[in-house]
Amino acid sequence: MLQLDAITKHYPTRQGLVRAVEAVSLTVAPRSTLALVGESGCGKTTIAKMILRLETPTAGRILFEGQDIAAMDRIAVHRYRRAVMAVFQDPYASLNPRMRVGAIIAEPILAHENPGRAAVTRRIEEVLDIVGLPAGAARLYPHEFSGGQRQRIAIARALALQPRLMVLDEPVSALDVSIRAQVLNLLQDIQDEFGLTYLVIAHDLALVEHFSSDVAVIYLGRVAETGPTAEVFAQPRHPYTRALLAAVPQPDPDHILSEAAAAGEIASALNPPPGCRFHPRCPRAMDLCRTTVPVPSAPPHITACHAPHEGAPT
């Protein structure tokens, strides 16, 4: 469905070149959910922006259903923009407060086709029904809804043109705990019903384990580890994946958090460490890690590490 082929994104700045994304290769199968995880500044949002054609890769290709999205002509770009939709983190910022909900949902439809007023109204009612809002919601303004309901409106807008791929950037992290489960369940139902493919950006690893079929752990612009979520979480090989999992607070007072697994903080993409970018924080780092970029192992469970772990974490 979607294939990232060694995509790289560098930003020239006055302080030098920011190496935000470096040779990232990933594939997303139809009807699957790939989660991108990693700390702030690791490049996961930049990757999503390139997929949405909001940024152009410095190098590498993004293939959607076999077609290079950078080499598309105008008509193909138009078709691509219908097929790929996004839902952003903050439903307070992503909905125009001056527009009624009906107009918000109609906007992407009218940008692509003019099926007539009755058809648009019918489609608005359909997608509102899918996300569990009454048809009357179309006449109201965003401020008349709670955070969870606003995120439903954002999902309805994304669904209006029957997309095939949805990019979900932290779709529930601005919502309250009791509302998150409602929205996550809704997203799963929609995926099953319409056969959608999801690319989700999330920092909550328990949520990722629950919600995604595949996961890519990104560190400083590079893929540290990727594969089927169940396998990566059960037998994480990269020390960074292990560190992330060990640092997740569990709703269990007897669970012991490990502070030792990743000391210090993420380095700057302006001046990334040579060799493996994780080596300054890695408890297993050897001389080789300081000089040589690790080569990714074979799929499906891919690890870029000179000294990968084996088996389940203790």
Binding site: S178, H210, P249, Q250, L257
Partner: protein, 322 residues
């Protein structure tokens, strides 16, 4: 030894739309060396409870309308603003805020900002101030603090900024620390470092901590006891193991079922239907009843607080009063 006792606290916000009862009858206590978690969703009143203790309510609209707050036997609600500012706020009770980007002033150096509470409360002055600031920064593990006094907030990483905010709070060795979502803005590998820091500060100073959080994982890792808030009220209080192993209130149980956890193989999360009520016109009776799967006719009246023994209390008709 009981450090802080809050009884029947009522905090009102006077808005154009009416009086919002942000905190409606909250009672709690914190011992020295103990961490009490105040857990709840946005709008449940947990932050307003924390701000009420310091009388830092929104100017003009916020007001403590009733109840008692006693710190080491001193009734804080009866103190004048001047006395509270001089003797309590920042010295005996200090607060760590959620977002280190907004709780640090971008135009003052770190040395100035960490030094200012020390100077204001007469802990250190003049030449001794510098070494006192270095000492506090060392305690929160800022590397080579003597070289960083003149640096500004933007020159620190997110995790280091939160350490600086913690340094500002612990400089005067407060008896009570209020930490409002201290790790929410941070990545998990940094979050675990700040959790360890708070635990160490408590070990060194014996301070009581009130941890305000929406994250049941963070609360489990740091707290000795937990109070769960819903719609301006505490619905359940219990020692930490009791709360997670044997939650008594339907809201607590629903919250614990709604969150995904690592290693959890459920296909679907148990969502809580509906949303929290407005606190301008809250429902009569149990405030969780409209969303509660176990609601009964009786829930139209406010449930009494039931003592379940061993410091475990909850307000729900299901628990009976026998």
């Amino acid at each position: 030894m009981t450090l802080l006792t809050v009884e029947n606290l009522q905090t009102h916000l006077h808005l154009q739309r009416g009086i919002l009862r942000a905190v409606d009858g909250v009672s709690l206590h914190v011992d020295g060396g103990e961490t009490l978690g105040l857990v709840g969703e946005s709008g449940s009143g947990k932050t307003m409870t924390g701000l009420s203790l310091l009388r830092l309510l929104p100017e003009g609209s916020g007001r403590i309308a009733g109840g008692s707050i006693r710190l080491d036997g001193t009734e804080l609600t009866e103190l004048s603003e001047t006395t509270l500012a001089r003797d309590i706020r920042g010295s005996r009770i200090a607060m760590i805020m959620q977002d280190p980007m907004t709780s640090l002033n971008p135009v003052f150096s770190i040395g100035d900002q960490v030094g200012s509470p020390l100077r204001n409360h007469g802990i250190a002055r003049g030449a001794r101030l510098r070494s006192a600031v270095i000492d506090v920064l060392q305690r929160v593990r800022i590397p080579s603090p003597d070289q960083r006094l003149g640096d500004y907030p933007h020159q620190f990483s997110g995790g280091q900024r939160q350490r600086v905010v913690a340094a500002m709070a612990i400089g005067c060795t407060p008896r009570l620390l209020i930490a409002d979502e201290p790790t929410t803005a941070l990545d998990v590998t940094i979050q675990v470092q700040i959790i360890a820091l708070l635990r160490r500060i408590q070990g060194e100073t014996g301070a009581g901590i009130i941890l305000i959080t929406h994250d049941l994982g963070v609360a489990a890792s740091l707290c000795h006891r937990i109070a769960v808030m819903y719609a301006g009220q505490i619905v359940e209080t219990a020692p930490v193991r009791r709360l997670y192993r044997a939650p008594a209130h339907p809201y607590t149980r629903a919250l614990l079922a709604a969150i995904p956890r690592l290693g959890d193989k459920r296909a679907r999360l148990a969502a809580i239907p509906g949303q929290p009520p407005s606190l301008i016109d809250p429902p009569i009776g149990c405030r969780f009843a409209p969303r509660c799967a176990e609601r009964m006719d009786k829930c139209a009246q406010a449930p009494p607080l039931t003592d379940l023994g061993d410091g475990h209390t909850a307000s729900c008709w299901k628990l009976g009063t026998a």
